[in-house]
């Protein structure tokens, strides 16, 4: 065993409370055969007869503060935020990287926190929706979403806002998109088509898309 390998503590029970266990195991067959999102599967069935794996230590820098955690290695970054740190602003929508509700910024880049393990991010910085405002002063993207009514039910909103912030940073760095006409252009202008393509990983079932686009344009300093 090398020094990078986590030491097993076979007699330590898992400290993770796996919630939603054995969620709706009956009926999943029918669900999978339709084109419905697999949201109902949530965290997936957990085999209660299996021994718990050894827990692992991880330290995340969340919204500027260090958070040492001891977790079951199965713990996704999303579940670490929500279930271990009570940071429930990041939402679990599909839990399969299809909806974007769980979007957070890791080392400044937007990712789906449901499709990565907390332990893979030891020592890295994570920014969640809770880390954007300065006291009572909303982040400009948050304020723009309020001003432009960029949501209805609000479930996707924290993911939309984190994603939009990551998207503007990518755009400033010159990242092209699928709809960018000229790949050699230094930085594509953020037209509505560009914003929609770059935000396609965030689904809004209330379809507040026009207002989300307006909020993003305002934050980018463009006419809405």
């Amino acid at each position: 065993m090398d020094e990078h390998e986590f030491n097993a503590e076979p007699n330590t029970p898992s400290k993770v409370e796996v919630t939603r266990r054995t969620v709706i195991e009956t009926g999943t067959t029918a669900l999978l055969l339709t084109t419905l999102p697999r949201a109902a599967l949530a965290a997936g069935p957990v085999d209660d007869n299996e021994p718990s794996p050894p827990v692992v230590d991880v330290e995340l820098q969340i919204n500027g503060h260090p958070h040492p955690l001891t977790v079951d290695p199965r713990t996704t970054l999303l579940d670490a935020l929500r279930e271990h740190l009570a940071l429930t602003g990041s939402k679990k929508g599909c839990d399969h990287g299809q909806c974007g509700a769980c979007t957070v910024l890791v080392e400044g880049r937007r990712i789906n926190s449901c499709l990565t393990l907390a332990v893979m991010h030891d020592g890295q910085s994570v920014t969640t929706i809770e880390g954007l405002a300065l006291g009572d002063n909303l982040h400009p993207m948050q304020a723009a979403f309020v001003e432009h009514d960029g949501f209805q039910c609000g479930y996707c909103t924290s993911g939309q806002i984190c994603s939009a912030i990551g998207m503007l940073a990518e755009s400033r760095q010159g990242m092209p998109s699928y709809v960018t006409a000229d790949l050699m252009q230094a930085a594509a202008e953020l037209t509505d088509a560009e914003i929609r393509e770059r935000m396609s990983g965030n689904i809004c079932r209330c379809a507040a898309y026009p207002n989300i686009v307006a909020a993003i344009k305002q934050t980018a300093g463009m006419p809405t």
Partner: protein
């Protein structure tokens, strides 16, 4: 998710040695593997995290090509100035895949090794020879709209889902690997993927424990490069049909053409005879139809995916018209 132990690799040789053990899986971006683990399609007992290995560089090669480290993220590869300038088809293919969040996480090596999105592969209550060899193929008589029309077998009609790999097929990329003895080799991408045959569970020519370290791109061939993807949504959907094309033409005559197709088969698809048909041919409908016939003459639909045959023919026609427009 089934329980597993987690460890971090400190070298590629170490990762290869650990990965050789049954039940062990390498994790890089994890965007496909964790999805499959949540559904218990994949049930590794041990995960080896290679994210901290120094495989995240894009380097110029002596022959004027590029060497892309296995851990280069899809977004970084798509945005690299050299890729945008010289390998536009690759940049476009990457940007056509997944969402920005997933591209920020997904790696070059992981993208090559992602699994099919066949519904029945994902549904552990259904027979699937790829997931459970010998259990049968539920897609044959099932809902097979997204399935293969070329190179399929009675055992599996799944398609490979990658866009990136289709562009790499057109570019004649090589997949560099290392094994647990520390020996490296370069596998031409044309020999990297397998057809399903009787063993659809074996998808690549990688041997147990062999790990992808890089993908090398030869100097780009002359010609216009485009990637055309036809799908059910304008964004964030897998290809029904895609075409990576590199076509060199002048004044209505094609000098050379490379064509790779996604969404049609168990691997990115190339047909040498179709490309030969276009060499020194006039850029007109007769030539385009001859090329499509060469690609599709062994095509076979399974009901739900019959539409892919004319869709491929029309998409190819459109791509060739665009790339030969002067």
């Amino acid at each position: 998710m089934k329980a597993f132990t987690y460890q971090r690799a400190d070298s590629t040789a170490h990762a290869a040695a650990v990965a050789f053990k049954p039940g062990t899986k390498i994790i890089a971006g994890g965007t496909n593997l964790l999805d499959l683990m949540k559904l218990q399609v994949e049930t590794p007992s041990n995960l080896v995290d290679i994210n901290r290995l120094p495989l995240d560089k894009i380097e110029d090669t002596r022959d004027g090509g590029l060497r892309v480290g296995a851990l280069v993220r899809n977004s970084d590869l798509a945005a690299d100035a050299r890729v945008r300038q010289r390998y536009g088809v690759l940049s476009r293919a990457l940007l056509a895949g997944a969402s920005a969040q997933l591209r920020n996480k997904a790696t070059t090596g992981g993208n090559l090794l992602q699994r099919t999105r066949c519904y029945y592969f994902y549904d552990i209550t259904k027979p699937c020879n790829k997931r459970n060899p010998g259990s049968g193929c539920a897609a044959l008589a099932g809902f097979n709209r997204i399935h293969a029309i070329l190179g399929a077998s009675e055992h599996c009609i799944a398609t490979h889902p990658s866009d990136m790999a289709v562009a790499m097929q057109a570019l004649d990329a090589n997949v560099e690997t290392v094994n647990r003895e520390g020996e490296s080799r370069a596998i031409p991408i044309a020999e990297f993927y397998r057809l399903p045959g009787r063993t659809p569970e074996i998808e690549t020519s990688l041997k147990p424990g062999e790990i992808i370290t890089a993908v090398t791109l030869p100097p780009p061939p002359p010609g216009v490069q485009i990637y055309r993807k036809v799908r059910d949504r304008a964004s964030y959907a897998f290809a029904l049909v895609s075409v990576a094309a590199i076509v060199d033409s002048t004044q209505g005559r094609i000098r050379s053409a490379r064509l790779a197709f996604g969404g049609l088969a168990h691997r990115p698809w190339r047909t040498a005879t179709a490309e030969q048909t276009l060499t020194n041919a006039p850029a007109n409908t007769t030539s385009f139809n001859a090329a499509a016939d060469a690609v599709l003459h062994n095509a076979r639909g399974f009901g739900g995916n019959d539409f892919k045959i004319p869709l491929t023919q029309r998409t190819l026609h459109s791509v060739l018209a665009e790339t030969t427009r002067t």
